[in-house]
């Protein structure tokens, strides 16, 4: 994958993510959030993807403003930053209206690859974990243009 370009002047790194739900496929913008242990989407998004939140299991979420509950759904597929993951659990909660993204791309997804962020050029790369010297050289070919 080539580097993903993000807007350097924006308050967050925003990533377009394709979510395949129960009935539909939708592209949404999620905030790249290494401070969130899980990936989260807004309730409206989950509902429109065809999920019934009333019967979904819930978990506790602790943020800087206190504790609340989030529902768990399983997205049939998530595609983001060049990675495709099937049957991916996603948490659902009502996000504040002042947040103009539809969710957070959390560490549960991001851990699958290594991350390189060029904050001068606005390039984000995900890279596989290396499996030896030659593999590291191959990864070099991917990182070098983004430096």
């Amino acid at each position: 994958m080539d580097g993903f370009r993000f807007d350097l002047s924006a308050p967050h790194i925003v990533v377009p993510v394709r979510i395949t739900g129960m009935q539909r496929v939708r592209w949404v913008n999620l905030v790249l959030d290494t401070g969130s242990t899980s990936t989260v989407i807004d309730e409206l998004v989950a509902f429109r993807l065809g999920y019934n939140l009333e019967s979904a299991p819930t978990v506790s979420v602790t943020t800087v403003s206190g504790t609340s509950q989030a529902s768990i759904i399983v997205a049939r597929q998530i595609f983001a930053l060049g990675m495709t993951v099937d049957e991916f659990p996603v948490l659902v909660m009502p996000l504040p209206t002042q947040l103009r993204a539809d969710g957070l791309l959390g560490l549960d997804f991001l851990r699958r690859r290594n991350l390189f962020c060029n904050f001068e050029k606005g390039i984000l790369l995900t890279l596989p974990s290396s499996r030896g010297f030659l593999h590291r050289l191959a990864i070099f070919a991917q990182i070098f243009p983004a430096l």
């Binding site: 989260v40 768990i72 002042q98 539809d102």
Partner: protein, 83 residues
């Protein structure tokens, strides 16, 4: 809803700065990301944009044309989820 020819999504964003957009994706870039699309509607809030998706099949993109938080605000989106 507006129905026009496909155009670069970035162009649509610039035209409707500050609004939520519903776009039918018509092409992708080399990384598989939406590149061009047809604007199906523009809305003042997230709720209205997502309600409009009810009537649309296929690959659609809902996004806000602007920064993730209002000017003068900060965001602290840390979350610890106990699974």
């Amino acid at each position: 809803m507006d129905e026009t020819r496909p155009e670069p999504i970035e162009q649509i964003r610039q035209r409707y700065e500050g609004e939520w957009l519903l776009i039918k994706v018509t092409s992708h870039d080399e990384n598989g990301l939406p590149k061009e699309g047809i604007l199906l509607g523009h809305f003042p809030d997230r709720k209205a944009a997502w309600e409009a998706t009810e009537f649309v099949d296929g690959e659609v993109y809902v996004l806000f044309a602007g920064p993730t938080i209002p000017e003068g605000w900060e965001a602290v989106l840390h979350g610890w989820f106990s699974l």
